[in-house]
């Protein structure tokens, strides 16, 4: 090393994070991944604060409106369903193929005649709400028709004609938030348990190891279902707790190992020699030295938990029905796929795949940037 020149200005030296950032910036794959992840997180925040996808539940398109690039469905299937909803008497006759059309035709004139003959009072007996219904139907229905449900949407529509793109954006709010929050919970638990276990050793270590063994001896899905059963309610908090409470084990083992390694290092002994307390050694001295491990673990777990949320929702243990997430979209998609409506599956799947891949690659570059010796 060359001798240092004493500069008149005391410029603070780059610390670990600055140096890591510099290395990171040279990693093109990492930077692209970072941009993608940042874009997703921005999207999540925008959606959460109502700038984006506020009207995701509005039925703006025809049912199962196909994506624009595919073009409007020529088979007419997507037209029929709005037609039956839009109004009653006018279209049905034209449907020649309907096997019960004749019976319907038989039935239909009756109430019509009754209404015409006996006046509104008799009709009210048949259906007391008919007027109101007619009113509502007249308003809502005609408006919907007037809004002109689009025959195609940029990325298609679901069963109710909701825009899949909007759903994906709204769904990202749930999925990414669940991933981040659950990873935070898991990392926090894993780090604190691991730190105490590794640093104090002896009975503390035995206790946490025992706890860990019990946790890992239960099959993962069973554990999730058990916790879901105990918490007894569907909701974001529940999923976050389920994933966080079951996901800390891997992080615990790693952090415990790191603490075991670091506690006998000379710099920790030196801290002991100058009189630093146990907690100070644990959290002021050692923690910054294992922080890169924690960060990498956390970002790995975000990926894992985003996928886990999808699996949970897919199995029906996920978010409640009025909330959309990528998992619930994929869950819906399994029925649609039978009808050949692939777009919801593809769009939700792609969004998740892009984020997860970008996050994984970001994790990889983070590890390289934080621990250059590994290269």
């Amino acid at each position: 090393m060359t001798t240092m020149t004493a500069s008149p200005h005391f410029v603070a030296s780059p610390g670990l994070w600055t140096l890591a950032w510099r290395r990171m910036r040279r990693d093109h794959v990492g930077m692209v991944s970072l941009l993608i992840v940042a874009a997703f997180i921005l999207m999540m925040i925008a959606s959460g604060s109502g700038f984006l996808a506020r009207d995701w539940s509005k039925e703006v398109g025809a049912n199962y409106a196909p994506p624009t690039f595919v073009g409007a469905d020529a088979s007419g299937q997507s037209v029929i369903i709005p037609a039956t909803e839009a109004g009653e008497g006018d279209v049905v006759e034209s449907n020649v193929s309907d096997p019960i059309a004749s019976e319907l035709a038989e039935l239909r004139p009756k109430p019509k005649g009754a209404v015409a003959g006996a006046g509104p009072s008799e009709g009210a007996v048949v259906d007391p709400l008919a007027d109101i219904m007619a009113e509502i139907k007249g308003k809502g229905g005609t408006e919907a028709v007037k809004e002109q449900r689009a025959a195609t949407l940029p990325f298609g529509a679901d069963k109710w004609g909701r825009d899949v793109l909007q759903k994906v954006i709204k769904g990202s709010e749930t999925s990414i938030f669940v991933g981040l929050a659950a990873a935070l919970v898991a990392t926090l638990l894993g780090t604190v348990f691991g730190a105490f276990s590794g640093y104090y050793g002896k009975w503390v270590d035995d206790f946490f190891n025992w706890f860990y063994s019990v946790f890992t001896s239960i099959p993962y899905l069973l554990l999730i279902l058990a916790i879901a059963a105990v918490l007894q309610q569907k909701g974001l908090t529940t999923i976050i707790l389920i994933l966080g409470l079951t996901g800390w084990t891997g992080i615990y083992r790693l952090i415990r190992a790191e603490y075991l390694k670091h506690k006998s290092r000379e710099y920790v002994q030196a801290a002991d020699a100058i009189g630093a307390s146990g907690n100070r050694r644990m959290f002021v001295h050692i923690l910054p030295n294992v922080s890169h491990v924690i960060l990498v673990q956390m970002s790995l777990h975000v990926v894992q938990f985003i996928k886990a949320e999808v699996i949970l929702s897919f199995l029906g243990f996920g978010v409640p029905v009025d909330v959309v997430s990528w998992g619930s979209m994929l869950n819906e998609a399994q029925n649609e796929l039978i009808l050949g409506k692939w777009w919801q599956l593809v769009v939700a799947g792609t969004a998740m795949a892009v984020l997860v891949t970008a996050f994984s690659m970001l994790t990889d570059s983070l590890r390289d940037a934080l621990d250059p010796k590994l290269k």
């Binding site: 004493a6 030296s13 710099y267 002994q269 030196a270 801290a271 002991d272 100058i274 009189g275």
Partner: protein
Amino acid sequence: MADQDILLAVRDLRVSFRLDRDLAFEAVKGVSFDVPANSTVALVGESGSGKSVTSLSILGLLPPENSRILPGSKILFGGHNLVELSASEKRRLRGAEISMIFQEPMSSLNPVLTVGYQLGEVLQLHLNLSPKQARTRAIELLREVGIPEPDRKIDAYPFQMSGGQQQRVMIAMAIACEPKLLIADEPTTALDVTIQRQILELIGELQKRHRMSVLFITHDLAVVGEIADRVVVMKDGIIREQGLAKDVFERPQDAYTKALLLCRPQLDRRPARLPVIDDFMSNGGKAPPALAERTRGLTGKEEFVLEVKGLCKDFHSREGLFGKRTFHAVKDVSFRLARGKTLGLVGESGSGKTTVGLTLMRLHEASSGEVLFDGKDLLALSPSEMMAYKRRIQIIFQNPYASLNPRFTVGAVLMEPMIIHSIGASEEERQKMAMDLLKRVGLPEVSFYKYPHEFSGGQRQRIAIARCLTMKPDVLICDESVSALDVSVQAQVLNLLQDLQDEFRMSYIFISHDLAVVKYISDQVMVMNEGVIVEIANSDDIYRAPKHPYTQKLLASIPKGWHHAP
């Protein structure tokens, strides 16, 4: 020279390392030297001099992903230019014609295979011996390198052998195929002095018996003086001086060589200050005027600051299901430390010298005994009572790369003890004290804002010293504090420690395996072996007339350097 065949000729070797995408560092800048047949050539230099890179490029073992031998370099061996050989041709040469011994025998042997298997593998691979022949030959080899009971040891695993025996196995492996050239990269640095002596003798003997050449790479000139025929001195990737050992040692031409020869403490002299490289460089390559000798030793009128009585430390390990094995690391150690004086503590690895240091500070809890400091028994104090005494006994560790928290700036490192012990009234005052201390240990004030990784080993050790000084301790334990440093840096740190002792009247316990350094810095010397103090006396007396047989053996093993060589 002319009457000898040249076995290996290195011509204008240049090696560059890629540090970054567009930043390269030339580690070896045009090095040329010869290794004649049947002789020992020593390549000497401090860390970063490029000596190891040179040896690795001869074998073609440089990491291909970030290093490059620049065009124009030639390594001529047996009519081939090794630089231009293909990978498979090089592999054929390695082991058969050229072989190598590394510094760490413990990490060079595979721990899950027996030494017989590992030796046999080399023989079967290069000499096409059958497994049975290979085993017979392996036993012969083990006998040749002086392993006791080779028939039995051949089935031992590396961990069942001592460090010296492991290094012998490595040597057996290296000479298995009767190579023409043996490259030994710091083969004795990780070993104790007594073992070092045996290994050096073994290498010398084998060189003569097999009429091979040895390229001996080391930082230790004293070792070189005993075995080398020719010496090549390197610094910063260039050769500063080369020639016959006699010439280099008796009439060194280069200022750097002169400095290297003189800045290492010698057994027969004790100048008040050790000369450092800069003294030579600034003095136009001439040795600085000899300084007055410093007298050492206790006169009997000293005041004692620390008294240790019957200190014991046991370690327990589990054995079997319920069994417990006790290892007595320190047995009944008693001594007194005089104020303002230095007590040297020497011994080989495993002698318990470091454990004594750590137990005194209660970094390890002692099993029994008393440590009296100001009349108080430190070992009996509660942790809160101990806090007041902690700042008065401090320790400097061996490895300056490990003893500073890499996430703290130097300022934070220095201010932490002040915060813990409430030294200094305000942040500004502490900062000023830290800056003053940095200046005192010879570092610029900007260091305050830097991180430890930006400093060299010697500079880091200065930071560690400054950290101890913040608490103005009465006793400073130096646990191998200069062992990991280069010779020239070692001299600077030793000088600094001496200056600080003169200024603050601190007492040192100086723990080291390096007998020359201990002799230089200590007033009293205490020799430990297997947890017991075998001898304690004034340093001049103990080196002149050692009484205990172990001390005698230890002192006889010190490499004597050129001056005493036959």
